[in-house]
């Protein structure tokens, strides 16, 4: 039998006919239905505004990540200059992790932007449909007998209801996606926050759970490369004593 389409149309039609059953008088039903549509349109607008806000917030999180990449890079240099290679390695591992996340985040923000544009387009379409319904209902009221009107109303309301459900679902998807990204972004942020330099100096070379996880994620290779590059830059000076570093200061 029918796949998804059948089910969805049925759900929408059920909702609409429930709406229609509420009033016996066709002209009352039409006006009521129109009111409901306007309310839904308001909700859609609010929803789009939510998506825009969420997108901005994600952009800000990306900015923060960018800053922490710079900070971790500085910290790695400081650690190496102080001769603490272990610490430098950890900082670089975190930097790579943050960079990876940053790339993902940028891409997702762009995706969200595209979705927002589509959503705005749908909202515009819905508005025209509701506008069309408004004029149509006046015609129906004027021209038809009650029985005929009921059929016409049901047809018209189903058409608009479908568009409404469509926009609503598209919005729900955008919101879900945003929440997903936000959860991810803040998880990384937390990880980064937990791994500030202060904590590291306290831990010394021990390597706690986070360190091990980070080492796994960092996948070694890139970090080694970067570490030797840093060493070359700094002239491998490792005669300075350890622990002389400020907590997370910029260079």
């Amino acid at each position: 039998m029918a796949g998804m389409s059948g089910r969805m149309s049925t759900v929408i039609k059920a909702k609409v006919s429930k709406l229609l059953d509420k009033a016996e008088d066709p002209s009352e039903t039409l006006d009521y239905s129109y009111q409901k549509q306007l309310e839904s349109l308001q909700n859609v607008k609010k929803g789009i505004a939510d998506v825009v806000t969420a997108k901005k917030r994600l952009g800000m999180q990306a900015q923060k990540l960018e800053q922490s990449v710079v900070k971790l890079d500085t910290q790695a240099r400081q650690a190496l200059a102080a001769g603490n290679e272990e610490l430098a390695r950890t900082a670089l591992e975190r930097k790579q992790l943050a960079q990876t996340e940053l790339q993902g985040l940028d891409q997702q923000v762009a995706e969200l932007q595209a979705q927002q544009e589509k959503l705005t387009e749908s909202e515009k379409r819905l508005r025209s449909k509701i506008e069309a319904f408004r004029s149509k209902k006046e015609v129906i009221k004027a021209q038809y007998s009650a029985a005929e009107a009921q059929v016409r109303i049901s047809e018209a309301a189903t058409g608009v209801g479908e568009e409404m459900a469509d926009v609503g679902l598209a919005m729900q998807r955008a919101v879900d996606k945003t929440e997903d990204m936000q959860a991810r972004a803040s998880a990384v942020e937390e990880l980064e926050a937990a791994g500030t330099f202060e904590d590291l100096t306290q831990l010394g070379q021990g390597g706690d759970d986070i360190d091990r996880q980070l080492a796994e994620l960092g996948a070694g290779g890139g970090v080694d490369d970067e570490l030797s590059k840093l060493k070359a830059e700094l002239g491998t000076g490792s005669d300075k004593p350890r622990g002389e570093l400020g907590a997370g200061e910029q260079a």
């Binding site: 039998m1 029918a2 796949g3 998804m4 389409s5 059948g6 969805m8 149309s9 929408i12 039609k13 589509k118 959503l119 749908s122 515009k124 379409r125 025209s128 449909k129 506008e131 069309a132 319904f133 149509k136 047809e155 018209a156 189903t158 058409g159 608009v160 479908e162 469509d166 679902l169 598209a170 998807r173």
Partner: protein, 92 residues
């Protein structure tokens, strides 16, 4: 027949196009059935393109309900598994 691509709007399809869409719909169902993700995306993408290219967009002022509702273009394979079942979107 009127088809809605979710998030994009409605399109009116001729019988000839409807048959071609139906063929792709069935191919998508088959791909989902055999767990072939690549074939699914291929068939689904082609189906959407066909609807957009050959279908006539329904004007915003026209209030008509759709006969078939097609999931959005960025439908994932796992989502598709729940939707492309049996006869697919278009009942045979």
């Amino acid at each position: 027949m009127i088809v809605r691509i979710m998030g994009e709007g409605q399109f009116r399809l001729s019988d000839e196009v409807r048959e071609r869409v139906n063929g792709l719909d069935n191919a998508a169902v088959a791909a989902v059935g055999s767990g072939d993700e690549d074939s699914f995306h291929e068939a689904f993408e082609e189906m959407l393109q066909l609807i957009r290219a050959e279908g006539e967009a329904v004007a915003d002022e026209d209030i008509e309900s759709s006969d078939v509702i097609v999931p959005p273009a960025d439908t994932s394979f796992s989502d598709a598994a729940a939707e492309f079942t049996g006869d697919g979107l278009i009942p045979d």
